[in-house]
Symmetry: C2
DNA sequence: TTCTTTCACATACGTAGTGTATGTCAATTG
DNA sequence: CAATTGACATACACTACGTATGTGAAAGAA
């Protein structure tokens, strides 16, 4: 029955390495992060890293996946809390923007991630987030609220707007001051997907 | 009269290095691009590089600036050709999206640029582009066409949408097929900044 | 012109960091 | 209890950046 001891230990080291990776990548950036330092801080050596993740990029992928998946979950929750629908979509966007205030998200997911792992749209975690947005948009479209445009394209750009707003807020000096502006502008652009003026739309449940 | 010989030669080497940098950064990516290979292909050595640009990042900055400035110019021209105003703004966005089909733009400006040089909103070239968008938006706002939202925020996100659409098109397998979808979705979102439905707006000159 | 200085660039070197090949010891299996 | 697997450490090779130093041609002085 203790035949899981090995696997559990390995899972523990994976966690340690991912945690150390988050810290190092956030603080130094991907390129400047040293795998020697990183693994040493986790009480390990590079041997563990290359055994578990293949290479530096592999660890980055694991780290990005973890953060990004948490973001998607949080955003979705924010949307469902408010009851889904159009307001839910806006809430998802707002949540996404606010999360980007965290330096880890900013540096790892928004800046280094795309450069190291390629276009975010291809990441498994981002795809999950995108599928969520697509689902919400389809539901709205079936009610006739959305303009007759390719839904996937709309979802991608909508996510992109939130991501960009987030990046702007994050890189701004007065983050707390720009946050409301960014959110307002996001909602402003988002209303572009609607068939009618937003004032005319309340709740249709 | 030949007192410019020195400076001219230096300018020539700078051009050679930037050109070689464009090729190498686009093909290999910033991290994997070797300065030895790069400079050798330009008929020079790393000495020239470090003398002219300080370090690898310095060359990257010069390359990005060159490309990005050309993009801004081209986009602005596209907007002015159509006569400015609302249609001009859309034309700028379309131009931006189409330019991102070039691998150089995609890899250097959209992917590696932000990771190496930081948030694009801080780049001098991007600021120039942003100022243009802000100017156009202000003009539209003075005609009462724009919603009462912070113009800078709007401009940033609008540029961001175009940039994101571009990135999507670029990373798509069937670029020619996704391009129209991306443009349509961009225009869709862009109408969100308008006070009224876009159908009611033609030209107001 | 000729001597001196400057400077754009090349050459040589130190260092750091990644990835791989090999070693080792505990956990598993029979 | 012997044999084997495998997770991780150690050792090594290679690459590449940045710097310190050298060099030869252009620019200025006399």
């Amino acid at each position: 029955m203790e035949s899981q001891t090995r696997a559990k230990k390995m899972e523990a080291t994976r966690k340690k390495l991912i945690a150390a990776g988050r810290k190092a990548f956030a603080k130094k950036g991907f390129a400047a992060a040293s795998m020697d330092e990183l693994t040493a801080e986790a009480g390990l050596t590079r041997g563990a890293l290359y055994h578990n993740f293949g290479d530096k990029k592999g660890l980055m992928a694991a780290v990005v996946d973890q953060i990004d998946m948490a973001m998607a979950t949080k955003a979705k929750e924010a949307g469902e809390e408010i009851g889904g629908g159009w307001e839910g979509l806006l809430a998802e966007g707002r949540a996404y923007i606010e999360m980007a205030l965290e330096p880890e998200v900013q540096r790892i997911v928004l800046l280094d991630g795309p450069a190291v792992l390629g276009d975010p749209a291809q990441w498994p975690s981002q795809n999950r987030c995108l599928q969520g947005t697509i689902g919400t948009l389809r539901a709205l479209a079936s009610e006739g609220l959305i303009k007759p445009v390719d839904i996937e394209a709309l979802a991608r750009l909508l996510n992109g707007v939130a991501l960009n707003a987030a990046l702007w807020v994050a890189s701004s000096e007065d983050a707390q001051g720009t946050l409301p502006k960014a959110i307002a502008a996001f909602e402003c652009l988002a209303t572009g997907v609607l068939n009618k003026a937003p004032q005319a739309v309340h709740e249709s449940g």
